[in-house]
Symmetry: C4
Subunit: 278 residues, 4 copies
């Protein structure tokens, strides 16, 4: 939907998802380290395991719900195609932009469904949820890539910048298939999701300014400012991944000397995962 609201809607989705992931992953990291010190009993692990699974189920349902909302909005909002793909009277495709956006939501919906299946039935390999997420992000970027023909320079540029975060998320999700539970990959993915969400808002403000003051879409200085603005969004977005870490720092005792094995992220998470799964 080429409008301010059409960009604000996905912006809200991705902002919410990114902030949720940032909070969830950084708090899990903080609590796990504390827990490891106090108790290592099997019952605690079981509780942790089932609560993790419950979170994943809630996540899958939410993604599915918002994807369906997005698809319906693209199809049945005023001016939408109402499921008509081809206009036989005028012999051309009907409202392809709406159809393309609905397709993007479709893949996120599939990722939600698969996430639900994986975590409720256990019939599929666990990492399939991350793989579907990687595919959903990749297809979003793929459709955007061929979405920009014949637009103004700044319009193309501002959407291209979006692709950095989208393909970055696809790559990170794919890496998580092999390095599941790596806190750094998870937090970086959360940062990029926040970046994507806030950037959708930025696109809305630049291309459909609510204040009415139009941007000059062919001005080279605007392009340079937008590029820099993108990096600021990343800096602010990644700052939201710190709360769990700071929380740990504030209420944590000085545990470093006693725990010289606070190794790199990989070794860290392997033990962590062993704690969760084992």
């Amino acid at each position: 939907m080429g409008s301010f609201r059409g960009h604000a809607l996905p912006g809200c989705f991705f902002l919410t998802a990114g902030l949720w992931w940032a909070g969830r992953f950084s708090l899990r990291y903080a609590t796990h380290r504390t827990k490891r010190l106090s108790s290592n009993s099997t019952s605690t692990r079981m509780v942790s395991l089932s609560s993790q699974r419950r979170l994943e189920v809630i996540e899958g349902s939410t993604i599915l719900f918002f994807s369906v909302v997005g698809m319906l909005a693209e199809q049945f909002a005023p001016g939408g195609p109402h499921l008509h793909l081809y206009d036989y009277t005028e012999q051309h495709w009907d409202k392809l932009h709406n159809w393309q956006h609905a397709t993007m939501y479709l893949f996120f919906g599939l990722a939600g469904v698969i996430g639900l299946l994986v975590h409720t039935t256990g019939a599929a390999p666990l990492a399939l949820d991350r793989l579907m997420l990687a595919i959903a992000f990749f297809m979003e970027g793929f459709i955007f890539l061929y979405h920009l023909h014949g637009r103004a320079m700044l319009d193309v540029h501002i959407h291209q910048l979006l692709l950095y975060s989208v393909f970055g998320q696809a790559l990170l999700s794919f890496l998580e298939v092999f390095h599941r539970g790596n806190i750094l990959l998870e937090l970086l993915r959360a940062s990029l999701t926040i970046l994507q969400g806030s950037w959708f808002w930025q696109i809305g403000f630049v291309l459909y300014p609510p204040s009415g003051a139009e941007w000059d879409l062919m001005d080279h200085n605007n392009m340079m400012f937008i590029t820099m603005c993108y990096s600021w969004h990343l800096a602010i977005g990644s700052a939201h991944c710190q709360p769990g870490l700071l929380h740990r720092q504030l209420c944590g005792t000085i545990q470093i000397e006693e725990h010289p094995s606070h190794g790199d992220g990989t070794a860290e998470t392997q033990r962590e995962r062993a704690g969760v799964r084992g």
Copy 2:
């Protein structure tokens, strides 16, 4: 062969291969998990090991057979070059498109031969079959890449989309050299093979429509539709990878609580492989 049948033929090959792989890998995943619960005796493993090898031999022979069929069809079909490469009378290369297609089949034929050698004699390292498959897919994409000069916009675009699945298959096969038996890589490769097969049919229907109604090859809306259509093919193609998983879900008991170690795909397959090979 620039014709509907010239695209339908490889389409059938890749569709068959993709559906076969999807069925084989997902069923192997489903049965292995069930088997692990019931019996772990060495004799069962031996049976499984030799049946796996028999499947690989059948696969290699089939790939080899269809590659030879494809090469002969490109060379000796009416209008083919009949092994003449250079036309000395008119001083130019003869029917280079047919020669290029035959070269693509050649590399798949080599992959079939190597697969046969690896699994019948054991003289070569096991992962060589996946490496040759990666090379075969890469060379297919490589030749396609330089195959499209001076064609119409939609013609170029629809072939370029094919390259996503071809290079994706090459990359996944190469990753399987290092992560052999990872169910997710295998199913993703199967999905991309189905996608490639169905896309060949799509190309045939768009460029050489049997109904006779020509597509406008320079219409930008057609390009946007085709891009979206490609993503639908992927969604439908990957749905065919679920039967084994669903089968397991339907006849499987709730085994998750008893098996808290149902880790990520990697750990999964390592144990699985140990079960098969060890």
Copy 3:
């Protein structure tokens, strides 16, 4: 700052950082191997562990200090924007180049802050310092990439060459998240940092020659020379990574026969790390 000094300043920063890393990593490699032979007591390891951490803290503080210096220089040097981003009287962005350079310094400053946090409090996963460094290098390259519109051919080319080392450093830092302590990745990163530093000087000499003799920015031969010159910089830069290795060679006894396990870099560093952390 489009001036000789504006390129010499970051050149000094990166040269210093690169030489420091080259010396630190190669000497650590040399001494660890010697130490492993003589003593393996726990107390030695503790000393080594805390001295490593102290070095990281000093490094983080230094990076932070020079980033702040760089940001202040870009903002408040004569001709700088003095924190004004938009010129309301003339309706355009103000001194965007300075703002972009300050943004680059900002990300290095963030990397310094995170490095300090990681190594003083232990609240965050250890590998986060390398991840932030990777992001800082990536954002530097990203901003440079969209920084070069409408310049002369040689100007564009000489800055593009810089991107090889910048994105190379980003990639190597990201790999270090997973392979922390791998001496080869560390030395290669040091080499590329030296290369980036010396190349900033080269850019200064070519675009703003202190001698006054202007280069012809459209001459194709100059481009070819500059390309070759870049590879010489790399050759000379990587030579500075050898002192620690040579030192070991000079004072080391012939230890190879007694230690047939001098494996590849990976195995090497895992044991090394175990020595440091364990």
Copy 4:
């Protein structure tokens, strides 16, 4: 040197290197598997270890020798720059192509020197030889990449194809830093080296035909033929990597049933390496 002999010389170098590697790696693979069956005593391993090191030293010396020969030929052959870089009388760079070729040889010479240092003194990490080889191949490709401005279409295309094998070799050598001794990576690198060597000859025959019959450098059909020709070179080149494997097959007994652990290439080589080094 823009001449037939200027392309035949590096062609010979790379062909020799590729065939040598193909023979060495495939024979090592074949003999190791046989040896593991018959004897596992420590003395055998010591012999194998020292013979491996002797081979590496010979290799390093040979690479160094031919690099020096190449550099001298580029500099002092009739028409070479004789170490003059800048022509002060005519104010332009002198014979930059020769200088660029000499720079390529320089990096291979450095790789040879480092290989010698690594395997004679043991002062540096073992994997450094592969890293230097990766850098040497990368710099060769890098310089070629900016070497082709303003040439005819076929001339550019035929050199671009070379870049596939050059960057492929760089990537494979870099992967060997982490997966040293993986037989598949080694054989693939050998194949690409043979491909590069034979392709240099092909370039010589196309651009400077000894028969005198000039190729039409702007003919699109020639480009398509050359692309296909490249894939044939790869097919023939990789066939030379099979002798060791075939040798094993011919004289090997059926050992598969007795050795169910003939795992994938990675596991294979890890044990192999343990046999060599341990």
